[in-house]
């Protein structure tokens, strides 16, 4: 009996070793351990064994069985691993084949720039407000300290509907409309479309966008203006950006300034982008002129404020290095897709 067991074991071991796929391995299992298998047959013949030898024999059979089972299990694992290996090898793909894209649309570069500006100022507690694009001459000029026949009216090349109604040349009238509401303090930005009678070329468009900013409160100072806009410039152009304020003149602010930022291309060393100057002019700003406050019903002895105006296209052109303003209004898909 023992010899027979030994023989079954040896044969089983050899057959397991010889099995080169899972089906063959299973055949071995059935042939040896199955209901009609050789080892099962041996167990069935236990009754022929002397009763005193049965425990030892039983143990022997179980040992053989578990040895074969272990061997089978190991062989199965090895074969499965081999098969997986083979499958993975066969499933190699060319990862450089073109992607299958979901066609997603793109925001206009102006909007991307605008949303960035809005995000910065909303974070500083500014409300985003709007005003009419076809505007009263009063709001566009007079209430901003630009009386009738003021040369600035000519400078801005205004489109007129009639004597009282114009296409707004700036977003500044929204300041006045907001101040007139009489709700103080004010922290607002007003983005929007403005119009000037400039012929279309690479750097001019008769229609473009500005973002106006206004803060009115007690004790607002020029240093607040500087701090706010410096913060804005760093957020928009990067933490290393430096700013420079130069005196300037606008009828509706006094003192007034223009703000330059260090060229974000060369960091201020001077390059072709900034025409060698290292600085790029980015916005006009100033303390709201007391006459403007008074006209809007705010007492300049009690309140002060600052205002600024940024050209949106200017930022978009600079940030995305777009060299021709006309591209912004052509809406060529190949252009828009880049943003």
């Amino acid at each position: 009996m023992k010899e027979k067991l030994q023989k079954i074991k040896e044969e089983a071991m050899n057959r397991i070793a010889a099995s080169d796929d899972l089906t063959k391995l299973n055949d071995v299992r059935v042939a040896v351990l199955g209901k009609k298998g050789e080892l099962t047959a041996v167990l069935k013949s236990m009754k022929d064994v002397l009763p005193e030898e049965r425990p030892a024999f039983g143990q022997l059979v179980n040992e053989v069985r578990s040895e074969i089972e272990d061997k089978l299990e190991n062989a199965k694992k090895a074969l499965e691993a081999k098969e997986l290996e083979l499958r993975l090898q066969n499933e190699v793909i060319d990862v450089t084949l073109p992607a299958k894209k979901n066609k997603v649309g793109h925001r206009h570069p102006n909007t991307i720039a605008l949303e960035e500006v809005e995000r910065i100022f909303i974070g500083m507690g500014y409300e985003v407000v709007e005003g009419p694009e076809v505007e009263l001459d009063y709001y566009n000029f007079e209430a901003l300290n630009i009386p009738a026949n003021h040369p600035a009216k000519d400078e801005q090349d205004t489109f007129y509907i009639n004597n009282e109604i114009v296409l707004r040349t700036q977003t500044s009238p929204v300041q006045v409309r907001e101040m007139e509401k009489g709700k103080l303090p004010i922290r607002m930005i007003a983005p929007g479309r403005v119009f000037r009678a400039d012929e279309v070329d690479a750097t001019h468009s008769p229609s473009f966008h500005q973002i106006e900013g206004l803060v009115i409160d007690k004790h607002i100072t020029f240093s607040d203006l500087k701090g706010t806009l410096e913060e804005f410039a760093r957020e928009l152009f990067g933490p290393d950006t430096k700013v420079k304020f130069r005196p300037h003149h606008f009828p509706f602010t006094e003192p007034s300034a223009e703000m330059d930022v260090t060229c974000f291309k060369c960091g201020g060393k001077g390059c072709r982008f900034c025409k060698g100057e290292g600085w790029i002019e980015i916005l006009g700003c100033g303390m709201v002129h007391p006459r403007v406050l008074r006209m809007s019903g705010i007492d300049p002895e009690e309140y002060s404020g600052f205002a600024f105006g940024v050209g949106l296209e200017r930022i978009a052109l600079l940030k995305y290095e777009i060299d021709d303003m006309r591209l912004l209004y052509e809406n060529d898909d190949r252009f828009l897709k880049q943003f």
Partner: protein, 806 residues
């Protein structure tokens, strides 16, 4: 405004700065320098040489060999082709290794041209004699230079000395952007005053001395000003025995540096004083002035006048004229007349320096269509106190230059003298506005540099009349800030009451519109707000349509930009057309922009501006693709009610069988459709184009970001499919209305899963198949619950002539 640095340095003798330092500091103190040009940037090692001997070249007819004394002991040999030199001439010589700015033809070479020792046809040449063009200038500015050939100096020029110096080219010209409030800085003296204040140096304006002979100007001319409002001051002097000649080199060089061509002593003096004082002057030939009388009056209606450029000008009562006893002799402040202009034969001259009303000059010059150097200065609004000073300065130069004999005395019609303002000095106010702690003493020291006076007794600042821009505390605060330095003002953040940063509800809805459009493959375009009235024809909009009532621009850039759009389609179709013609495939665009609807025509109040969300596409996708985008958007902004589509939208620009008004809660909120093939072809698009336009004000009024959670049903759903043969004219929407009204509380949703029209179905019919889903919120549905609802639906459908395919 341009100035030469050499001229500024002459007025601010202590000024010793590089060009770059000057530019930076002036810009930071408020006189923005746009840039500068060094006149000697590309000139190097150029001295005055004298030609000692000339021999012909043995091998070239057109060349000569010159021996030139350059003050270095030994003569140098230079071969030249110049035709105009002779022995003894003193000429500019570029020594070996030196540089010139360009060629004879006046074309400049960036970086200059280096001159090396070389051989010309075998003969050694150690340098070059040069023309004015090679020195980077032109005959316009050096009228004595020959038309072709080497520049020749005056006989008294010093051999071996710096030729660039002698030509006044060691200079740099600065270009400023002067703001309109600083009228005083449109003059060299104004800039020099700013430079002196900026660099803390002494400002030395010219000392104007008394001029004139023993005669009395009133014996020569009588002046009457009839309109003092338009002419606040009129000064006049007379110069006799005029001797026209070239002006001296120093004056020519200063004019040249600023780009003004020297002509003769009289013209040059006028230009010089205009630059120096910012006061335009005019000279009349006194012998042409009838009655020896000047009358300043307004023109009469339809008066015509020939200006000195020979053009006849039409005038009206708003234009101020300078007239003599019989006739007009000049348009005040704009241009003199042909009839009184200075000619080479002038004997006696009437000199005018006046102050005209800036606004009037600007409007007149616009009306006449003539803008001159003088008018562009007058229109800024000049300081009348400057006029007499400029006049006396001009007469001083006339005497100094020997240009004529100045008659004693001056006419000065100046009824209301303009006094400088007095403004209380309130240093704490300035500090409060600036956020600074600048001492009173520092402030007063800035003011002193700017020639603002201070009356200690009344604690008032005395503003000179040339600083018309200084009116209130804020203006004074700016002066303090400028000289304290904008850079030195601290940076702080406002620290008042906290405010909430936010977008308005409208802007939030627009943000969702952009997001959804982009998720669905639409890119954002931007279109002009103004367009041509011709677009209405392109869009097949009938003549009597309200859309043709527009807000019209009275001064447009051209007809193509003359009306404010009342419909957003033209912009979209133009953009799609651009893409189509550039062969871009499958283009999807959207735009958020206003249309402008007048409340009346012609416009008397602000029009209604309505934001339109316009979607347009061609290529991949169809009507229903676009419809899907619209619905995704409306769902996202909380518009969950049923959206209705009415095919009878009546849009002439859309395909008559493929258009619909979109309604929500029985209000039309927009339209959708395929663009009419004729319209598409008007935009040169040979493909089907689909558009949808949503009227944002309607949408914003119905949108909401409020959400309420609805319990998720735990009980299983049951579905029933129905397949129908439907008369063609019945819309799917009609059938869905039946589901909605008859489906009962358990009908959860329904979905069209098949639509067929064709040979399998008889003519005039279509086949539709829907899957209906029923679910109970509180119980497991029983068969009877579903059958009950289905029976009601089927009965209603049968009543509409719909056959059911069981």
């Amino acid at each position: 405004m341009n100035t030469s640095l050499a001229w500024i340095k002459a007025l601010v003798p202590g000024l010793s700065v590089t060009e770059q330092e000057y530019m930076d500091a002036m810009t930071l103190s408020g006189s923005k320098v746009e840039g500068y040009k060094k006149l000697d940037a590309d000139l190097d090692k150029i001295v005055i040489g004298q030609i000692k001997g000339i021999k012909p070249h043995p091998d070239a007819d057109k060349l000569i060999i010159c021996q030139v004394d350059v003050g270095a002991g030994e003569n140098i040999q230079i071969v030249t082709g110049a035709p105009n030199v002779s022995e003894g001439d003193k000429v500019p010589v570029v020594l070996e290794g030196g540089r010139v700015a360009g060629g004879h033809d006046g074309n400049l070479t960036p970086g200059g041209i280096k001159i090396k020792k070389g051989k010309l046809r075998g003969v050694e040449s150690c340098g070059m004699m040069c023309s004015i063009e090679e020195l980077g200038s032109a005959r316009d500015f050096y009228p004595e230079a020959p038309e072709y050939g080497i520049y020749i100096f005056e006989p008294d020029a010093k051999v071996g000395s710096d030729a660039i110096e002698a030509l006044g080219l060691h200079d740099a010209v600065f270009e400023y952007e002067i703001t309109s409030n600083r009228v005083d800085c449109f003059a060299v003296l104004g800039i020099a005053r700013e430079a002196a204040a900026t660099f803390h140096k002494e400002f030395k304006p010219p000392v104007v001395t008394k001029t004139g002979n023993d005669e009395d100007v009133n014996d020569y001319i009588k002046v009457t000003v009839k309109d003092h409002e338009l002419c606040s001051r009129y000064t006049a002097r007379v110069v006799k025995n005029i001797h026209l000649a070239p002006s001296p080199k120093w004056m020519q060089h200063r004019l040249s540096a600023q780009g003004i061509r020297p002509i003769n002593n009289l013209v040059d003096i006028t230009n010089y004083v205009m630059l120096e004082y910012g006061q335009p002057m005019h000279a009349y030939d006194l012998d042409t002035i009838a009655g020896k009388e000047i009358i300043v009056r307004r023109a009469s209606a339809d008066e015509t006048f020939v200006t000195l450029d020979g053009q006849e000008r039409k005038l009206d009562e708003s234009v101020l004229m300078i007239c003599d006893a019989d006739k007009p002799v000049g348009i005040a402040g704009i241009m003199g007349g042909e009839n009184s202009m200075i000619t080479d034969n002038v004997k006696t001259m009437l000199f005018e320096a006046a102050c005209f009303d800036g606004t009037n000059i600007r409007l007149s010059s616009k009306k006449i269509g003539l803008r001159t150097d003088a008018s562009s200065i007058f229109e800024k609004g000049l300081d009348p106190n400057n006029a007499m000073e400029a006049m006396d300065r001009a007469c001083q130069l006339i005497e100094e230059l020997g240009a004529g004999e100045v008659v004693g005395g001056a006419v000065d019609i100046y009824p209301v003298k303009k006094e400088g303002r007095r403004i209380p000095f309130e240093p704490e106010k300035y500090n409060r506005l600036l956020g600074t702690e600048i001492s009173k003493e520092d402030m007063l020291s800035y003011f002193k540099r700017l020639e603002l006076g201070y009356d200690e007794a009344s604690n008032e600042l005395l503003i000179p009349s040339w600083r018309q821009d200084l009116e209130c505390d804020a203006d004074i605060a700016e002066e303090v800030a400028r000289f304290f330095g904008y850079d030195n003002i601290p940076t702080t953040l406002p620290n008042g009451e906290a405010t909430t940063g936010k977008l308005s509800f409208k802007l939030r809805i627009e943000e969702v519109a952009r997001d959804i459009a982009e998720f669905c493959g639409f890119s954002q375009g931007m279109c002009y707000s103004f367009e041509s009235p011709k677009v209405f024809d392109k869009l097949l909009i009938p003549e009597d349509s309200d859309l043709r009532k527009t807000v019209t621009i009275s001064n447009p850039l051209g007809e193509d930009f003359s009306i404010m759009r009342t419909i957003s389609l033209n912009g979209m179709l133009t953009s799609l057309s651009t893409n189509y013609n550039r062969r871009n495939k499958d283009v999807r665009l959207y735009e958020l922009g206003n249309i402008y609807l007048p409340k009346q025509v012609p416009v008397t109040e602000l029009p209604e501006e309505r934001m339109q969300f316009t979607l347009g596409m061609y290529g991949e996708g169809d009507f229903f693709t676009l419809k899907g985008v619209v619905e995704e958007f409306l769902t996202k902004i909380g518009m969950h009610e049923k959206i209705e589509y009415d095919p009878n939208a009546g849009k002439p620009y859309l395909h008559p069988g493929r258009q619909a008004n979109i309604s929500y809660a029985s209000k039309v909120i927009g339209y959708i459709g395929e663009v009419h093939p004729t319209v598409a072809s008007n935009y040169a698009i040979k493909d089907r184009v689909y558009v949808a336009v949503l009227d944002m004000p309607e949408i914003v009024s119905q949108a909401s970001f409020d959400r309420k959670y609805q319990g998720i049903a735990k009980f299983p759903a049951a579905t029933r499919d129905i397949s129908m043969v439907v008369p063609r004219n019945i819309l799917a929407g009609d059938i869905e209305k039946v589901f909605d009204s008859k489906g009962g509380a358990y009908l959860e949703s329904y979905k069209l899963f098949d639509i067929y029209e064709g040979t399998q179905i008889r003519l005039g019919y279509k086949s539709l198949a829907y899957s209906l889903t029923f679910r109970g919120k509180e119980k497991n549905l029983e068969e009877a619950d579903i059958t009950g609802a289905m029976d009601k639906i089927l009965k209603e459908l049968e009543g509409m002539g719909i056959e059911l395919r069981k």
